[in-house]
Structure formats: C-alpha cells, structure tokens
C-alpha cells in the first residue's frame, strides 16, 4: 500500500474511497518518500 502524508497535520494516511485525511479532514495529501535509496540514470 502506498503511504501518503497529509499536507496540514503531517500524519501518514492510507487512501480509501475518499481523498481526505481521516484525522483532520484536509484534502491535500503528498506521496511520502520511501525509506530506501533510489538509483537512476542522469539522462
């Protein structure tokens, strides 16, 4: 499951049927960065 972060209360949330923070009701969520490293080509 992809984790999202609420833009207002900074809580980690999971997206269900509604795009809305279950803690504060805010509708702007950011996709949280994964813990691992990311390898990519400089192109």
């Amino acid at each position: 499951m992809v984790a999202y972060k609420c833009a207002r209360c900074k809580q980690l949330v999971e997206i269900g049927t509604n795009i809305r923070c279950p803690y504060c009701g805010h509708r702007i969520l950011f996709k949280a960065r994964g813990a691992g490293t990311k390898e990519l080509k400089a192109r």
Binding site: T37, K38, K41, A42, R43
Partner: protein, 275 residues
C-alpha cells in the same frame, strides 16, 4: 592540406583548413562533437531528496555539469579492462550532501579524485530552503558524445566555406554596399570599394555570405549585373570550436583527427582482408 590558426587557447579555436573537401570538413566537425570522449555523471544513487525538484530532474541537471577530464588516466567504460562493470580507470565517484537554506552548486560535489572536478564551481543545481536536504552519490564515466549530448566536449562547433568577394571594374564607387555590410568587411577610399584590411589582415573571412552588398548594388541602379559578387571557396573552411572546459580545444581537434585516421585504417584493413 593546411591548417592555419587565427586563435587558439584552452577554450576557443578559430582556424582555416585549405585544400579540403566539404565531406572532410563535416567529418571533422562530427568527429569533434561525437567521437572525443569526456567525463559526465551517469549513475546516481539518491539517499534523500526533500528539495522542490524531482529526483529525475536533479539527476538530469547533475549529468549536464561539465567535468575536467584527463584521458591519459581514464578510458571509456565500454573499452575498459573491467568489462564495463566500473572501476577506478573508467569511473569517478562524487558525493553530495547538503542541507538548506542554501543554493546547491557544482562546487558542493566532492570528488574521489582531486584532479577530476567540475569545470566551474558555481553552476546552480537546486535551491534548498530550511529543513530541505539532498544526499546522493553520483558516478561519472567516460563516454562519447554520440551516446548522449552530455559527453560532448564542444559547445559551438561548426564551419563555413571561405568567402570570396569579387569587385568588378563596373563599380561606380557609390558606397551603398559599404553602408549595407553588417560585418564592416568593405571600405570606400577615393570612390573605390575595396576589402578592409585591419592590422595587416584582410577582413574577407569575416563575411557571412549574406549578399546584402549585392542587393544594395543592384538597388543603386547599376543594371542587371551587380559590380560586387559574393561566392565561397568550397576547398577552404573556417572552423570555430569552443570547448566546455572538460578538455583543451587543441586536444579535442587532435583526438578528432586521430579518430578519422584510425577509422580510415580500419576500413583499409577490412578491405584488404576482404580481397
């Protein structure tokens, strides 16, 4: 074939080739752009990036930073004895670990080899605000411009045919062509139009072949045939080569010519084997 340099320093060369063909001039141009290897960042491992730029944009910007290259120490990865796995003979590791608020520049990249550093230290990469940080490792490798433009050692690299300006006896010295010339190539002295000479050097080669002088001459009412004629010599070429700083221009030209020579030798060998 003759090569006459009018300017040669580490970053820019301007020279004329006499007795060449357009095919050879283009081969040299393409060889300088695509067949001279340089170092550029290729593989990036991002540990943390909380900046406003996506990882991909950050990686792309890092790849375009010109890096000083020493081709006596480093070889292209595809030709290295490591078989392309990456070793100290074909790759250089850089690290970048910066916290905001700060403008991250190429000077913040820390190289594992003190001789291999970015050409300029003030190339902006990303601007960090408070509590933002970037932590990454970047591996630069030697490769060719034909693979990707980031490995091109040249910036401006091109040629033009040598201009030939002919002023006929029918010229009435009205001076309209002199006034029209945007490059100040012509001059009018005692009702005679001639090619300007500055410090003992003719300005003929500065002509851009725009033919505005021909048009001005025709507009002066001289008739159907203009008194000044602009053409070009297809056996003489004016080259302008600018380096991005990764290699000196002289080395770029030398290596490009050696590449043409080695490709020609390969072709002769293949031909002899085939017969």
């Amino acid at each position: 074939m003759d090569l006459v340099f009018s300017r040669l320093d580490d970053s820019v060369a301007r020279f004329t080739i006499h007795g060449a063909t357009p095919a050879f001039a283009n081969a040299l141009r393409r060889s300088m752009i695509g067949e001279v290897p340089t170092l550029a960042i290729e593989d990036i491992r991002i540990y943390d990036n909380t900046s406003v730029l996506f990882d991909e944009m950050l990686a792309h910007r890092l790849g375009l930073i010109p890096i000083k290259t020493d081709l006596s120490q480093y070889v292209p990865r595809s030709e290295c004895s490591c078989g392309g796995e990456g070793c100290p003979h074909c790759t250089v590791m850089f690290t970048l670990s910066v916290e905001g608020p700060k403008m991250v520049t190429s000077g913040d990249l820390i190289s594992m080899d003190e001789n291999i550093v970015p050409v300029h230290n003030n190339i902006p990469i990303v601007k960090l605000w408070e509590n933002q940080k970037v932590v990454l490792e970047a591996v630069a490798e030697v490769n060719y411009g034909k693979e990707h433009a980031k490995w091109q050692p040249t910036l401006a690299c091109g040629y033009s045919e040598y201009p030939v300006i002919t002023i006929k006896d029918t010229c009435d010295g009205c001076g309209k062509c002199v006034a029209e010339c945007p490059r100040d190539v012509l001059e009018l002295t005692k009702d005679t139009v001639s090619i300007r000479v500055v410090n003992g050097e003719s300005k003929e080669k500065d002509c851009s072949l725009c033919r505005l002088c021909e048009t001005a001459c025709m507009d002066s009412g001289i008739g159907q045939d203009p008194a000044i004629n602009i053409s070009s010599d297809s056996t003489k070429f004016i080259f302008v080569v600018e380096s991005d700083g990764s290699l000196p221009v002289k080395e770029i030209i030398e290596r490009a010519l050696l590449h043409i020579k080695s490709r020609s030798s390969d072709l002769i060998e293949a031909l002899q084997e085939g017969l």
